[in-house]
Symmetry: C2
Subunit: 234 residues, 2 copies
Amino acid sequence: MFKPANKATLHQNVLNQMITAIKENEWEPGSKLPGEQSLANAFEVSRNCIREVLKALELTGIVEARAGDGTYLSENALRNIANSDLVASLFEESTLMELIEARQLLEGQLAYWAAQRASDEEIMNLERILVEEPETPNVEVHYHFHNYLAEIAGNPFLLRLLDSLRTEVSAQRIVFKSWPSTELELFKKDHWEICQAIKERAPEKAQEAMIQHLLRSQNEILERNRREGRRKEA
Amino acid sequence: MFKPANKATLHQNVLNQMITAIKENEWEPGSKLPGEQSLANAFEVSRNCIREVLKALELTGIVEARAGDGTYLSENALRNIANSDLVASLFEESTLMELIEARQLLEGQLAYWAAQRASDEEIMNLERILVEEPETPNVEVHYHFHNYLAEIAGNPFLLRLLDSLRTEVSAQRIVFKSWPSTELELFKKDHWEICQAIKERAPEKAQEAMIQHLLRSQNEILERNRREGRRKEA
DNA sequence: GTCCATTTGTCCGTATGTATG
DNA sequence: CCATACATACGGACAAATGGA
């Protein structure tokens, strides 16, 4: 509930002040900001300390340092700050349920678009993934199918988003190395159903099949989380 | 087209190597990594240089330094790296069309959920936002409506995502300070229609109305971008 | 082009506070 | 309490790059 109340180290303090100043448009984007020595004097710290702060800001693309010239505020510094904030808050403060819901929405829509937009060749490739699936299905094949499906949906932005969403769901839930083979058999059938719907160019059907497929696997996940206990309560 | 070909500075070099090493599971998450002096020897650089790198990694939450103890690889360092990469690539490499498509999907679904999940009180609040809309509508009111709608949909994760999505769409398009009032009148009607659908607890209707609303405004955006020329070609 | 002042890049040495055993 | 190990912080020094006179 409470913040760690970390006794800010010097460079943390300086860093926060710098970020705040940038947020408040202390300097114009693209403009040169005071030299390291100058900043060191202003904050009454050593140049080394300032450098650590500047290098941190550089990593996140907020500033750009040019040797022999100076350090410049990045053209889209504010956007990069916003994005960093997003990364920090996005997943940390999200519940498993929210993420699962989001994944369902995205993956359903991607199946929908795939049915609309896939070329004949892409559909053949999708089928081949299922055909070449080994007798004992595994998780890698599972993801392979989902990934290729998302790819042919033709929205790379959502594909990337979905990808990290899946990673995040995996991170938050209790991970199980192996699904029971009975489950994987069911999933295989689901995949075929989705693939069939895409082949028939039936977007709604594909979307519905995908959502049902996800519901099946996600119920299993939530069920297990309940059984094995939530270890993340602390 | 070409990369800046920056002759990597030392700390850049070290930083990249460190990140690569972390990605390749050189160290266990949560484990203590070698001391600064040790790293300095390994990379054959000064301790100062190492510190700049470590502070940069610390800002992004990849690493945690504890004074008098050591520097530890963050428990979810890999997730943070992945998320940072994601956000960096997410928006940079996405076309305006992809972002608009994604926004449409998200905002439509949020309207859908809002119709399902809103409490009576929340619906009243939503109506009040529209009622209190001034005679000459402005953009702030517009966003106020959309934000509250997303809020009562009850998925904070998607709300946050949508928020930065909108920011990004604004950044990529040619921004216009003021919509023509004729447009804003149309939008106002759209909002009422959406609100009505939510009041009727008609999810599909709300979703459809929202999508139509966005199509209207987005066509306008794309149209203007075409007319005024794409300045981002450089 | 050359020189020169400025600024970042890089290193070293040293002192201090803090955690661990 | 002590010794050790480590991060924190400072100041000085020189190299390398840059931009302007």
